[in-house]
């Protein structure tokens, strides 16, 4: 489900189709766009496309316990996002570019964290699946570090390392946000 409407996710069926647009670039400057390790550590699971598809389906159920988050900035997301994902730009979750109230309301309203007591209760918190542009993208990894610092349980955070780069590489569809 994407914005309340059913979207079928299926790979492009044209066997001669080639990757287009920006995702053919191999050599973006590093720093800042360096290769990330396979695992972010701290118990955060790295997932691939098949696992992401399962999470997208789970996130489409009523009252989902899963939220798939596209951490990219608007210039990227305006060109297309993974169906079933929600845009929460990485700056919104980054403590030094955002503000405590915004971060707090995200946790409370969107991630289902109980912040009513001094010690936050993450027992009903949603499983967050974060992604950005791929192996060379630092946006979702940074947000994951922030979430861990705030006490979000590592077992409830998943990282789709391949990101939009691997998604389109496999001919999987994007939708307008």
């Amino acid at each position: 489900m994407h914005r309340g409407e059913a979207v079928v996710i299926k790979r492009l069926q044209d066997p001669t189709h080639k990757l287009g647009d920006e995702y053919t670039l191999s050599s973006r400057p590093c720093p800042p766009r360096c290769i990330h390790p396979f695992s972010l550590g701290a118990g955060v699971e790295t997932i691939g496309e098949l696992e992401l598809l399962d999470y997208l389906v789970a996130a489409s159920e009523p009252n989902p316990a899963v939220l798939v988050i596209d951490s990219r900035t608007e210039d990227w997301t305006s060109k297309g996002i993974i169906p079933g994902s929600r845009i929460i730009t990485w700056q919104t979750l980054k403590t030094d570019t955002s503000d405590p109230l915004t971060v707090m309301s995200l946790l409370e309203d969107d991630f289902n964290v109980d912040t009513s007591e001094a010690l936050w209760d993450f027992s009903e918190a949603k499983t967050l699946v974060l992604l950005c542009n791929g192996i060379w993208c630092n946006q979702s990894p940074q947000n994951i570090k922030t979430l861990l610092k705030l006490g979000y349980p590592a077992g409830k955070i998943k990282w789709y390392r391949g990101g939009v780069q691997s998604w389109v590489q496999l001919g999987l569809p994007l939708v307008q946000p």
Partner: protein, 216 residues
């Protein structure tokens, strides 16, 4: 005179060309390149430094037929670690040291390897380790001569085997996954098998160095 001027102009163009002032493309913030040994010769692995470089055309294809080129899960089997590029590069460097107990294996068929492979890897086509396309003597030979397994009367002793780092064309490739399942069936210890799921596909997507492999 004319040629000198041309040479000078050419040098100027080089200095001010987009390549000349390109932003560096590191592997990580602190590593620009590493040296490995491929076929007995040193090879430097780095990323293409041309910020406008695009992925090799073979690897720009998005929709290879599935089956058989289907998307693989992130984990193949319990205990088999999936690795990425940085871990792969560490294994390539380790495999290049004399007497190394690490073997990085390109499982692809020779036609693919000939077009280019990862420096520091060796070629063992997947068909040689697959029971229905190979034969028991070939498989036993690979297990003992290449991987260090000891044949103890019908039983394999895997206590001193090498760590195998296996890859093929990427997340849509079934060759190294098939070989890994066969090795597990023989009793090869899962913690001595690593899988580079991204394979040649992701290696190319990041503009990393390849070398022409030899057909064997």
């Amino acid at each position: 005179m004319k040629t000198t001027l041309l040479t000078a102009l050419f040098a100027l163009v080089l200095i001010y060309s987009p390549n000349g002032i390109a932003k560096p493309v590191g592997i990580t913030t602190s590593t620009l390149s590493v040296e490995v040994i491929h076929n007995g010769k040193p090879v430097v692995i780095q990323r293409s430094q041309d910020n406008k470089n695009t992925i090799a055309s073979d690897y720009a294809l998005t929709s290879r037929a599935c089956p058989p080129f289907c998307i693989r899960p992130i984990k193949l089997a319990p205990g088999i670690e999936t690795i990425g590029e940085l871990e792969m590069i560490d294994y390539l460097v380790a495999a290049s040291k004399p007497g190394s107990d690490i073997l990085v294996i390109d499982s692809r068929t020779p036609d693919w390897v000939a077009k280019g492979t990862i420096p520091g890897s060796i070629s063992i086509p997947w068909t040689l380790l697959k029971e229905d396309t190979s034969d028991p003597i070939t498989i036993a030979g690979i297990l003992s001569d290449r991987f260090g397994a000891i044949d103890e009367d019908e039983l394999w002793n895997f206590s001193k085997v090498k760590t195998l780092v296996m890859f093929c064309n990427g997340m849509w490739c079934g060759q190294s996954p098939r070989n890994i399942m066969t090795l597990l069936k023989y009793g090869y210890p899962a913690d001595k098998i690593k899988w580079y799921r991204g394979g040649m596909q992701n290696w190319h997507a990041l503009g990393l160095t390849t070398v022409k492999g030899q057909e064997k």
